[in-house]
Amino acid sequence: MLQTAQRQSKTKKPKTALPHERFLEAFRWMLLTRTLEEKLVSLYRGGLITGGVYIGKGQEAVSVACGLFLKKGDVFAPLIRDQAGRSAFGEPLLDVTRTYLGSRLGPMRGRDGNIHRGRPQENQLAMVSHLGAMISVTVGALMSKRFKGEKGFVGLACIGEGGMQAGAFHEGMNIAAVEQVPLVIVATNNHYAYSTPNDREFACHDLVDRAIGYGFEGYSLDGTDLGACLEVIGGAVKRARAGRPPQLVVASVLRLSGHGEHDDASYVTEEIKREPFARDCLKVAEQTIADLKLVDAETLVEWRKEAATKVDEAIATAQKEAPPEGDKEDWCALSIRDLVDDVGTIE
């Protein structure tokens, strides 16, 4: 029955059935994300960012839907291409620019960079690079809330089709279903794990078929269609919150950038760029806005300007701030100072 439902949802023509306000709100987060990430890319190219820059171009529609339906008290575990979701969940732009630009005032204080940031105390988990690892961490946070008697909460963890092939992902999915926690996993198949195409990543017919094997309910999604993203991911969040089994959403998109900005993605074939899933979700959403006359052209210009101003301000602020300094750093990896190991002295 579940499988039938999935097939139906796959063949169903995507529609924009949600309230226009939500669509426009999501669009504005996407716009802000695109503006921010384009700016980060130029800073990187200008040599002003140390380390990598990882953007979510082409994945903003899926990502924004991940952040938009979460409320205060929900748990969010974003991954590397989830700027839109992070912003919609409430991450301040300054967290992004401070982390990328190495300000010591950022949430990671120069100790970790780029997308490895978070505010765990506000339920925005800080990812580690080892893919799949954050699924079980999200499960644990949700179990904790249940232990404490909280109600009505949900967790959402993002992954890509690359990370879905890691052992930790499998263990995390299984344990989520065993514990029956209110969890949504949004897996974005952007068709490349760094440079490796789908046919060298997995051999199953469709990744969403795995849902039933884990005890999840599974849904497929055209990730280039913002309306569909809001409907399907919003629905999954609602069902998880209502006590349905854990939810798996598999979205199809093309990564419209390199793995990171150091990567020219020359391995992405011309053929795949012509696939329907290779559309740019931001352009598709903008077309929907124009077709349905949701806002006029001047408003769009105004929104772009606002996004650029916010981004410029966040960058300017972070650029003015001092970086961390090695000889002033508190080199202590423990919260309990008395337990720090030292080489000792002769008394």
Binding site: P107, N123, A133, S136, S144, S335, D338, G344
Partner: protein, 322 residues
């Protein structure tokens, strides 16, 4: 009344569950009527319903789940069925729990119990001592209790500590070691214990090897040698000051550890003593570890593979005659 090392671990967990609502136990076979492969949680699932939970064979996800729960305010105790299987959870322990406070300023108060060390017939995958690996990485506390009293008080302290603790409990000591009663307090973590006083040679050890060292000290006493035995209790933090003070008294150092010989706790102790107290030494410091092969199954091979009293005595005599 007599209580074993294993019972002390069970009693500590019962006390923790009783005293602190944030505590729960998660691991393979810990719950139900079974109570763990070694019965370290026997009866606890019944006494504390919903708080002693069986988990699937998913060491990575078990520790990941504990990390998430800890970040969100709980105090999970994870039981690895055998220390050896914690290799599957290395990523979560080292890269997630161990880095979290440093990266985010949010500590991760998890306790991971590792039934460690060799017993007869257990072979390569049910005998390992992993403390050196965990001690190598930043952000973790590594406890290695050698006595019933420490097994009890250190586990209670492990759960109270806001940082992640790897608690290495020795399977050989589970039934062999008995005490009359449980203590109400113990030495703080990070403080080594002088298990036997002496003036001729310091043997630094931890976990089950403390008892081998004590046996050697006893054996060599009639020959006129007074051996001091230092029980590290925790290998990280490592109480270098107590070791240095002991070497200052004896002038000779032998370190004994059950883990593999490359690097590790014994090498670390010697590096610190030679670095900080070279002038205290009357002879080159020595160390004994297991052999650099996987741990063998057959008792005849196993008893030769691990450091044993005979080998420790041989090396101690050689050091004492230098």
């Amino acid at each position: 009344m007599s209580i074993t090392y294993l019972e002390a671990i069970r009693e500590a967990q019962a006390k923790l569950l009783r005293d602190d609502k944030r505590v729960f136990i998660y691991g393979q076979d810990v719950g139900g009527t079974f109570g763990g492969a070694f019965k370290a949680t026997k009866g606890l699932a019944r006494e504390f319903p919903g708080r002693v939970l069986n988990a699937p064979i998913s060491e990575d996800a078990i520790v990941g789940t504990a990390i998430g729960a800890a970040i969100e305010g709980m105090r999970p105790i994870v039981e690895m069925q055998f220390a050896d299987f914690s290799s599957i959870a290395l990523n979560q322990i080292l890269n997630n729990a161990g880095t979290h406070y440093w990266r985010t300023n949010v500590p991760v108060p998890i306790t991971v119990r590792l039934p460690s060390g060799g017993t007869k017939g257990s072979g390569p995958f049910h005998s390992q001592s992993m403390e050196s690996i965990y001690a190598h990485y930043p952000g973790l506390i590594v406890m290695t209790p050698a006595t019933v009293e420490d097994a009890y008080t250190m586990l209670i302290e492990a759960v109270a500590i806001d940082d992640p603790v790897v608690y290495c409990e020795h399977k050989y000591l589970y039934y062999h070691l008995k005490a009359d009663k449980l203590p109400t307090e113990g030495l703080p973590t990070g403080r080594a214990r002088i298990a036997r006083e002496g003036r001729d040679l310091t043997i630094v050890s931890y976990s089950a090897m403390v008892h081998e060292a004590l046996a050697v000290a006893e054996q060599l006493a009639p020959e006129g040698f007074e051996i001091e035995v230092v029980d590290l209790r925790s290998v990280k933090p490592l109480d270098t000051n107590t070791v240095l003070a002991s070497v200052a008294r004896t002038g000779r150092l032998l370190c004994v550890g059950e883990s593999f010989p490359w690097g590790g706790v014994t090498a670390e102790v010697i590096a610190r003593v030679t670095g900080e107290g070279f002038h205290l030494l009357d002879a080159a410091p020595q160390r004994i570890n297991a052999k650099d092969t996987p741990i063998p199954y057959h008792p005849n091979l196993w008893s030769t593979h691990r450091p044993n009293a005979k080998e420790i005595a041989r090396k101690a005599r050689a050091l004492l005659r230098e």
